[in-house]
Subunit: 295 residues, 5 copies
């Protein structure tokens, strides 16, 4: 419905454009769409996420999977990047995830502390950095301050900045929840206002209306909701995240509606690697069939 | 009633004077008055503000409107400035809004975190920067500290500083409310004491007396109140903000009384772009008719 | 009763001595005493302080009054200094007040945030800087840290440092109150221990004994109390502040006892400018008659 | 069961490899395994830990013991390093422990403040630095921020970084406790994700399941648990700590299972020096017999 | 009982050794022992401490007393050092006390903010700096961070660092109190672990056992307790402080037992200057008679 924004409209510096071009046109389908493999769950949730497919606990397995599946990039934390990326350096783009936390302490005032810098990303040959912004958190003041330093460093060093724009915290819970249309729409806009090059959002749920702002109390279809979210991101490229493991049909529908709405691509982790290897590749192949229709 | 302070009285450095002169005499009516278009509501309130006129959700629409309407400047956040201002760079002055927040967490101890720097403004060719000061907030200590860095940078780089001087927080609510005469009067003075070049205030409501300081318990007309507020700002140029959408007559009266009191101009957002395009231009034209009477 | 400390005993660097000498011997009576005009109430209390004499809301009026009254200096915030001091620069010494706050949020843990730097004072041609220390405040830890930077900058730049040593906060309220002999005596000593060149205190009230430390539970006359306070300040020059508007006789008695005790001078604001112009000058003249007796 | 990671796989810079090689192949058994002597209990618990063997209160005794026992390194705080390491400098590797705290204040939101820097370690000729990360603590946000500076300095100066990855705080207590399989497994992974070169963990207790994440509710043997923990550390070398004094057989079993699982070695303090001298050496000799089987 | 550590064992840099040598061998008895005169009570408690001997409120009196009494140094805050030390500069060693606070706010989470730097001490010709560490305070995390900067500066500038290691705060109150054997023993060790050159402690009270750690529940004599404390300080020189004014016999016993235990000396303030001048000198003379027996 919306037209996907081009790299020429995103206000990119030369370095940012060079790196994003590499990600979007030299890897994956090479048609300007993208599918990323995020692998920071070992920090965010702990090894419990790997019990469904123990092989996935080994970073070597994941990097190989990313290569075999023809992903446009892999998003990992500094520790794994330093110890495992060398083996495949240059073969698959690295998105260095700059912040992260464990899920053990209470999450009512969440903030994800910075564990690595844009300079670390440059040193490791990364093509982008990732930052989790807990938009709407009572800790948002400190989050914005921390984010600002990342944005400035990314600007100075020509490094594309992907914002995981995640509505979180007790105030969000009271206003529709983290994947309500209201929250996701606001999250996409926030990332765009604050200067993200790419924004990662959850797929919006228009039926979650309780506590949301007034205009969201009407009936909206999933397609209308994701259309609006992509518009709110305007010239910021938008990725839809997979979230927790769910049924294949639901995931493929989500992917199709997102691309139809003008998203640039997908970032699916647990839905990919929490299954057996051949199954993972088959599922990724289905996702890429969808992306191929949106050159 | 008061005489509008001239640029020669405001203690301006050469750089500040050059930029303010450009805004006040090379754009808009060019007679020393000004009307600005603020467009940070996508961050401050979220996309909900755009449902009344969906076209307004697109920053391109707003920039074009600012140009067609002959505004003296447009105030936006760093993300939109980087992605959209290039198209019209030099055609309309940019006021880079340096801080902002979402309205999701509770607002009893508000502080608006800095998202961009005066150096960003210089890099983007801006003619002024904007800072929201939540005057009277229990977080005012941190706010003043954050503001001080902005003031110093603006001083060093010759960049005019517009302070959104907004009484906010639980203490203000208990002492007359955010648009009481007492609160607005104090807000204008605070910005002036702290070195703002321009201050943006709400139109004062002298009838909101409950909890305000003693001298404000008397009867004052709207005109008396705005006169006093402009005097409290003394040599700091004063802009009156529009606030939430209201009836045209009320808005035009507010504009007329403000200019009569010695204000330098207006800064109207939702009252402009939350209506259909032709209607927006017609309304702006009425505002400019008023400003034309105060050369 | 005590001998007033001379500039040669105060451990002053060349720059500090040069500037203090200018204040004490080239302005006012020129006899080593001083009377200052403080004008930061527009920030500290808001425009409500100007309703008693509306002309006083205009900084031009105050600067002119300081000149006509032959004051030794005027203490103002950065904003007014930048916009108004130029007109009289060099004609009357400027004391740049470096910190300040509004009185809207609760004051049980007070701290006055820094709004300007010693470097700003140098740039504006000031002859001293002022810092409000809320001695005894539960926020005293942060206050001391903030103060330390000011003290170091003043030391490095040869700028005299006047400390508004004000006992404040809930703990002070429980231990005798802000103008008890105990609190004021301790405040004078604190400023001296922390390296103030000049300290500004309230006049002590020996009858406020409830909650104060034991030795202060005896009977003391006003004169005995102010004598002790000046001794506690030792080689730090001491100024007595006027505080809220009070009767002339009370104020003149306070001034006389202070000078008798070895104070260097007075710093009277509201008691001066909250009355009609001629009255102000007449009152200042009476103050100077007293100071003239202590060359 | 797992293969112990080699130095060539750990993503080490030249300086880090040189120092780790010295520790693992030039000291102790010289076969790539290691046993360290930690001696920071004087700060962490106070002198009470020395009453069982008063001689151990003297740092000279401990350094001599480390030499006699053929340890691969001794871990001490800055104060003891400056006053006692000179005597044996070069004879036994120094692990400078960079943070630490007393156990007097409540430990529900624990964070261990940094007392020395990586630069101090370089200056003192240390071969590694140690950092205690209270993983899962409600103060984890500040902990990660503090840790990041240490990681960056260690990277810049080529200094191996050993992370004491200790699950702690009220949230951990509610989710299985500090030595549950769940907590220790997560702790190993966290250190690895955050870029530790070596991680020190407690031996996991799979029977502590109450409150732990779901996948940990099954039955696991000790060997299965420590196997999984070593896999979670992946290319980060793993040391198992001794903790409180316990029976010899239990400790030796723990050691054997750890080495079998692919651990690099042990770090035993109180179990070594809270007994008489000859006994200490005999026990260490038994530990080294185990390590010798895993060249 | 213990041997007093020599300067050659304390891991001192050249600058630190030069200055400590000056204090210990060129002043006082010149035999390696020391008695210091602390005079920061004007800040810590306020002028109330001077009512017992009003002359003591005047810093000139105290400096002269230090000289007449043949003290090894005087410990004062920055303000008094700048205004009074010049008169006797070089005649008596200056210990610049770097932090301090008033006793007005509640002391359940105490921290003593830094008011001056090691660079100030160098500028003023000091031979040591003093830092109060409120060991065990709930604010200990910030205290350690603040202390670390002081330790690093002292290391860099070759300035001996004397730590006032004071157990304080609500947690200490619940675990035996500030002068229990447990607390003082832990305090001595903490200063040593954190790199103090000299530590100042209170005399331990072995009878205060309630709430202390287990090993301290046995019966210990005073002599056994102070012996243990000196051992816990190991190569950190130890000074015993006088605390509140007490009977002469008790003080002299304390002094004797401390020196017997291997302390380097005493630091007595109120017990010295809260009495008439001749009495002060007589008491100091008795203290020095004791020290003379421990060359």
């Amino acid at each position: 419905m919306n037209q996907r924004p081009g790299l020429d409209q995103a206000g990119l510096s030369t370095g940012k454009k060079a790196r994003l071009h590499r990600i979007l046109y030299r890897h994956g389908l090479g048609n300007g769409t993208a599918v990323f493999l995020p692998y920071d769950q070992g920090l965010e949730h702990g090894p419990r996420d790997f019990f469904a497919n123990p092989a996935a606990g080994d970073p070597r397995y994941i990097l190989k999977l990313a290569l075999e599946g023809g992903f446009n990039g892999i998003a990992i934390q500094i520790g794994l990047a330093e110890k495992f990326y060398w083996d495949y350096a240059g073969e698959i783009p690295l998105v260095l995830k700059l912040n992260g936390k464990t899920d053990i302490p209470p999450a009512d005032h969440p903030l994800s502390p910075v564990n690595a810098t844009v300079a670390d990303a440059v040193r490791l040959g990364a093509d982008a950095v990732g930052y989790t912004l807990y938009m709407g958190s009572p800790a948002q003041e400190r989050d914005f301050q921390q984010y600002r330093q990342v944005r400035e460093d990314a600007q100075r060093l020509g490094m594309p900045l992907i914002v995981w724009s995640y509505p979180r915290g007790e105030a969000i819970e009271a206003k529709g929840g983290k994947d309500s249309f209201y929250a996701v729409d606001y999250a996409a806009r926030t990332a765009s206002e604050l200067g993200a090059d790419v924004v990662k959002v959850n797929f919006p749920h228009p039926e979650k209306r309780y506590g949301a702002a007034d205009p969201y109390h009407h009936e909206f279809s999933s397609q209308e909701a994701i259309d609006a979210v992509v518009r709110s991101a305007n010239r910021t490229l938008l990725l839809v995240s997979g979230g927790e493991r769910a049924g294949d049909k639901a995931m493929l529908d989500k992917a199709r509606q997102s691309m139809e709405a003008g998203a640039t691509g997908l970032i699916f982790g647990r839905n990919v690697w929490q299954r057996e290897h051949t199954e993972s590749l088959r599922f990724v192949s289905q996702l890429k069939d969808i992306l191929a229709k949106y050159p």
